[in-house]
């Protein structure tokens, strides 16, 4: 019993919090390291036994397989696995990008409809959300693909689409616009889009001071005028290659794969149901007094929604919305089920089977999704900070 006044009580070394915490952390690190070492040893042995190459040498090897939808030039004989990777990534981004646009539009509509004063509309929206959310996405994709699109008439019974297109169980064939001297036009379009975004951002700040320009008109002008001017200056012309019905296939035109349509439909509808819930929660988070105050000021329902409710609801909506966008992007990997050539189908499917290099292929694929996830999170967090009204 050492009760000698000024001397600090001696605590055994192993009872001191800092020592304990250090001990636990060292143990954890050792355990992780041991696990990693065990895995690496086994991998080396297993690969040597199975005579599987390692490293990223396969990236420049000729692929030798065809891909049904390519946004960039690709051929089985001349292109490499690396090229196939980019084709797959672009296909994933295409379906995810379009899906996000469609899902947002449908989701906001349904979310607002759920709070409609119209009994039938609100009920219908509620049923839609309940039904879609409770059925696995994979089942919905299989349904759209196998039961709806594959049940369309075959090539001979093609349904004619107004404007010179065809719809059958091999896809949707549309006239393909061919633009000569398209480079400057595209550049002008991108420039116009950038200008429109910049205008939107600037106006947001100026608008707060009450000096706004008519937003819609200026934005439209900024987007439409530059490409038109560029087209006139560069003398480009637009012509359409119309798909032609052959005996066994359809030649020319723009071909939209049924796999693509099924995936886009399934992803958009499924995600829209979740977005609708986020939108509803966000709208309901705005206190009722805000609506009443807006009505008292003489604003109509539409104006109230647009000017008072939605801006405040957006800060509640954006974080779950971001999550849904990421979910949609990740869920696009279910393309494997219906054979749409996305990143997973091409890379972890065909390339993995051809090369047998499981670790490299899976790691690359995971890294891509992880990058997309982290980048989107960062972007949307920035957007959320931007739209959050400054509070005094």
């Amino acid at each position: 019993m050492s009760r000698a006044g000024s001397a600090a009580p001696t605590v055994p070394l192993w009872r001191r919090p800092r020592v304990r915490s250090l001990l636990w952390q060292v143990l954890l690190c050792l355990a992780v390291a041991a696990l990693a070492w065990f895995a690496i040893v086994n991998v080396t042995e297993n690969l040597a036994r199975a005579k599987i190459a390692s490293g990223f040498g396969f990236w420049n090897v000729t692929a030798g397989f065809d891909i049904s939808q390519t946004l960039i030039a690709y051929s089985a004989q001349a292109s490499t696995y690396g090229r196939a990777f980019w084709v797959g990534l672009l296909n994933t981004l295409l379906v995810a990008g379009l899906g996000i646009v469609l899902a947002t539009a449908l989701g906001f509509t349904v979310g607002i409809a759920r709070l409609s004063q119209n009994y039938l509309v609100a009920k219908l929206a509620g049923w839609f959300v309940e039904l879609i959310r409770n059925i696995p996405l994979l089942l919905q994709l299989l349904f759209w693909y196998n039961a709806v699109l594959k049940a369309l008439p075959d090539i001979r019974g093609s349904i004619a689409v107004p404007g010179g297109g065809f719809l059958n169980n091999r896809g949707l064939f549309l006239p393909d616009p061919q633009v000569t001297a398209g480079g400057p036009v595209l550049a002008a379009l991108l420039g116009g889009l950038a200008a429109a975004v910049a205008f939107g951002l600037v106006r947001e700040r100026l608008g707060a001071l009450g000096r706004g320009a008519p937003r819609v008109v200026v934005t439209l002008l900024l987007i439409v005028t530059p490409p038109l001017v560029a087209a006139l200056v560069a003398g480009s012309t637009v012509s359409f290659t119309v798909p032609e019905m052959g005996r066994f296939n359809i030649r020319g035109g723009l071909e939209v794969l049924p796999e693509f349509v099924a995936l886009l439909l399934g992803l958009s509808i499924y995600t829209a149901a979740f977005i609708a819930e986020a939108v509803r929660a966000g709208l309901m988070a705005v206190p009722k007094g805000q609506t009443e105050a807006a009505h008292a000021l003489g604003l109509r329902r539409g104006a109230t929604l647009r000017l008072v409710i939605v801006p405040q609801a957006m800060r509640v909506i954006v974080p779950p919305l971001t999550n849904q966008y990421l979910n949609l992007t990740k869920n696009s990997s279910l393309a494997v089920a219906i054979g749409y050539p996305d990143l997973v189908q091409i890379f972890t499917g065909t390339v993995l089977n051809n090369t047998g290099q499981a670790i490299e292929v899976v790691v690359i694929t995971m890294a891509v999704y992880l990058t997309i996830s982290l980048a989107t999170s960062a972007l949307m967090n920035g957007y959320n900070a931007w739209i959050t009204p400054t509070e005094r």
């Binding site: 409609s116 004063q117 309940e130 959310r133 409770n134 089942l139 670790i359 899976v362």
Partner: protein, 387 residues
Amino acid sequence: MTDLAMPAHKSVAFVRTTPAPRVPRPPLPGGPLHWVRTNLFPTPFNGLLTLLVVLLFVWTVPPLVRFLFIDAVWMGTSRDACLPSAANPDPGACWAFVRTWFSFFIYGPYPMAERWRVDVFFALLAFGTAWLLWLDAPRRGLGAAFFFLVLPVVSFVLLSGFPAIGLPTVDTASWGGLLVTLVVASVGIVVSLPAGILLALGRRSTMPAVRLFSIGFIELVRGVPLITVLFMASVMLPLFVPPAWSPDKLLRALVGIAIFASAYMAEVVRAGLQSIPKGQYEAANALGLGYWRTLGLVVLPQALRVTIPNIVNNTIALFKDTTLVFFVGIFDFLRTIEIARVDPNWATPVTSTTGYAFAAIFYFVACHFMSRYATGIERRLAAGDRR
């Protein structure tokens, strides 16, 4: 003051001394007509919407009812029953097909003689789930022990067999259907809840190495699609272990699902932990409780209780995600339907749609009741705040 003091007879004011007769209250607007006016036709635009929705109903509901019930074929032994005939020129859902394949959807290729074992497993699982979900059940601690410790062991012995006690071994390759769906989902829950709690605690830990490891694991797994995690488990896991230990297909998928579910569960639990005020920790510390006792006696009982609805919602997501084991060659419920629907004996134009309709009804009913339960618990937990 002076006015009131004036004698009544000299005033021009009239002061009533008897109460006015009661007037019945004006009739409130009511009745079905008023309801229709305020809820269906409040504005011209809304009236138009109402008409559009009614039109949509008229256009979709009767064909759907015809397909599912009126024109549906209930009896039959082969595709002939579901092909257009004179009696039924436009046949609806081919339920006869589902009846024929029903036991395959439930058990997969599990040996016929041993299927009672699967039934016992279903019963045990239902019992354990009910014990866990019924908040007023007696001895819920025992229920948790049953679900998280006893059930996994008993189920494993029961399903995969134990020759020493007279249960012949059944290879996991012949498990299938609903059995596999439930096995995958319940393994996901049984592993992910404890693992998720540990990861969530790790993420809030003051030890940098533990925190970093937890955050890394959670964000890595949540940042990639489940399908890549499953591929990783199915093609990389066998490389990570000596060939003698190489796990079978089902086990690989289970590992993938468990990893994935744990990361998501960790975030759900973390939200619950964050809802516990700091004062609770401080009070526990003041009482002299250490870290684990603070957690076990004070924090977790409160945190998990408010998290139940989210845990159930997470379970719904997991239940739907079990369909993805499809991609690593496991015969789950959806996969058995995919197999059955291309059976040449039942090749009719309506077979696929019937199969999908059956699967959709199954998943919808299961998920719907889980979400109803979660909503009920949420209401019950909020009851305290409503006082």
